[in-house]
């Protein structure tokens, strides 16, 4: 059963591919410049390799996405788990899962052709560039709502009925039971869903590539273009970079950065779930 080894080989392959070219990259560029430089212009005549603007762009879009997705996703989860009748749940949950199955390029199209011009500019009268981090972030938020909603709902439903009935017996209202009993009991699953959604948002490529623009920014003007780690990789690879060229090497260095960030998040999530998991019979 050597097939099982393929999954191991894939990981090894990813790590090896990233590390090998990244080492070559750091032969040319100092680690300090890469990690702490605030100017990212690798393909200019006088290149500068500070990755911080890309990381800032990634965190800005991710933060905006979470601000949208956490309240909406959790509210949907609470409603479906605690309030909705079974029939409503059975029709609404597949619809949310359908939302999760829509390819991300569709969300990119939506952000660029509908959200920025119609919602942000015409409806909210905001003065934003056509490529901007705000629209990209909000639309990524829509895209991760189903992750938050679906996993949180599962974890709230697995809270034993006896806990709810005990609280009702003590005279608590439905509102109190939901927020003070069910919600804390399901916290580990809820946090896990948020961390998973966050790592999806960090790794999301198409929306930021289409709607977020390709100007790295060392500032916090979300109405303008902010390039993210993923958008840089996508935009550079599209130009068919030749092996050994600077552009080719930067793809790997930026890819390594992205991989490390998402890996750390996954490990935190696994840790968190183990630590706070409540075991009921």
């Amino acid at each position: 059963m050597l097939a099982a080894l393929i999954s191991l080989l894939t990981t090894t392959g990813i790590v090896y591919a990233l590390v090998k070219e990244t080492i070559v990259f750091f032969g040319d560029v100092g680690l300090g410049e890469f990690l702490f430089g605030t100017k990212w212009t690798p393909l200019f005549g006088e290149p500068s390799f500070g990755v911080l603007p890309l990381i800032l762009g990634t965190f800005a879009t991710t933060l905006i996405a979470l601000v949208v997705a956490i309240p909406l996703g959790l509210a949907a989860a609470i409603y479906l788990s605690e309030y909705a009748r079974p029939r409503v749940r059975k029709t609404v949950k597949p619809m949310l899962e359908l939302l999760a199955g829509v390819p991300t390029i569709v969300f990119g199209y939506f952000a660029l052709t509908f959200f920025t011009p119609e919602v942000l500019r015409r409806f909210l009268h905001m003065d934003v560039a056509i490529f901007n981090a705000l629209a990209a972030g909000i639309v990524i938020g829509f895209l991760i709502i189903p992750i938050v909603a679906s996993i949180s709902e599962d974890s709230m439903r697995s809270v034993p009925q006896a806990l709810r009935e005990g609280a009702f017996g003590l005279g608590a209202s439905k509102f109190q039971v939901t927020l003070r009993v069910v919600f804390p009991a399901a916290l580990s699953g809820i946090v896990a869903s948020i961390v998973l959604a966050m790592s999806r948002a960090v790794g999301e490529t198409m929306v930021v590539l289409i709607a977020g623009g390709q100007q790295p920014q060392w500032g916090a003007d979300v109405g303008k273009s902010m390039e993210t780690l993923t958008a840089f990789i996508g935009a550079t690879a599209k130009g068919d970079a030749a092996t050994g060229s600077t552009a080719y090497k930067t793809i790997f260095a930026v890819g390594t950065t992205l991989f490390v960030i998402t890996l750390v998040m996954n490990l935190i999530s696994i840790r968190f779930v183990r630590r706070y998991r409540q075991v009921y019979e």
Partner: protein, 296 residues
């Protein structure tokens, strides 16, 4: 849940008002999330309906927008899915069988493989693109930017999904079936091949279809492995250059965003074709699940 309704009835008046407000807020949030899906689909449908025709499906892309079509992308996608399926079915099923039937979870390497599969499922798709670029397109295998490299990259991306679904399907087969088969003198391999696997086929098939429907919409890894956007032929083999529907759509969106607005309806029409394929695949998966669902 009538007991809960009674409990609310007993709460005081201000509590009841709070309850109602909370409930309405929740409902509004849920409606907003579902409403977004509707707006998204309606927006794409309105943009794309005009450009959708048989010509659109039969033509190749073109520098004049009203002659452009998605044929190369459609066939490219079909080829990619073929390569992907040929890889994920045997490898995914074999891994699932190993982990579920043979692997001893107490051994450290089996736990490592398991943890590894979980972690792989959360690696951003564009990183798989980088893997494909470094190993398949260039480097050790040097296949070039061809169908085989693109299909294998997508296959590695969705492999964890197939493994996880396969394991669940195998786990759902009750151990009494295995024990019965063994008691009749079958070897472990005969038991798996003739009893357990056939019983798990619907679950595995559902997992494979869902994995393919994830792969069909993936754009980012294909951009990195070098799918070509402007191409006027269908792939004629594994070593042929290719495009795919999402790549074609991405190219049209990029043109539209450079103010060549004729391409916008094309992009939307391409999305419609992609969504129809996707819904069809999901429909088949749900049908399979309901049709062959077994209660042991």
């Amino acid at each position: 849940m009538s007991t809960h309704q009674d409990a609310i009835g007993r709460a005081s008046g201000s509590q009841r008002a709070k309850d109602l407000a909370f409930r309405l807020t929740l409902l509004a949030c849920l409606a907003l999330a579902i409403g977004l899906l509707v707006v998204l689909l309606v927006d794409v449908a309105l943009d794309g309906a005009g450009a959708l025709s048989w010509d659109f499906i039969n033509n190749f892309t073109s520098i004049t927008a009203d002659k452009a079509g998605i044929q190369a992308g459609l066939w490219g996608t079909i080829w990619l899915m073929g390569v992907c399926a040929c890889f994920i079915v045997p490898v995914g099923v074999a891994t699932a069988i190993y982990l579920e039937e043979y692997g001893d979870p107490a051994k450290w390497w089996n736990r490592l493989i398991e943890l590894n599969v979980q972690n792989l499922a959360a690696v951003p798709s564009i990183v798989y693109g980088i893997l494909g670029l470094a190993f398949l397109v260039r480097g050790p295998l040097s296949l070039g930017n061809v169908v085989l490299a693109g299909g294998l990259t997508l296959a590695l991306l969705v492999l964890p999904m197939v493994i996880i679904a396969g394991r669940e399907a195998l786990r759902a087969v009750p151990s009494s079936i295995r024990e019965g088969s063994m008691a009749l003198g079958a070897t472990q391999w005969q038991t798996i091949w003739r009893q357990v696997l056939p019983a798990a086929v619907p679950g595995i098939a559902t997992g494979v279809i869902l994995a393919l429907s994830r792969a069909i919409g993936e754009t980012a890894p294909l951009i990195v492995v070098g799918a070509v956007a402007v191409i006027a032929f269908n792939p004629d083999g594994l070593d042929s250059q290719f495009t795919a529907m999402p790549i074609q759509i991405f190219d049209w969106i990029s043109r539209a965003s450079n103010n060549v607005n004729d391409y916008r309806p094309l992009a939307a029409a391409g999305i419609l074709v992609l969504m129809v394929l996707l819904l069809a695949m999901n429909g088949v998966a749900i049908w399979l699940r309901n049709r062959y669902e077994q209660k042991w």
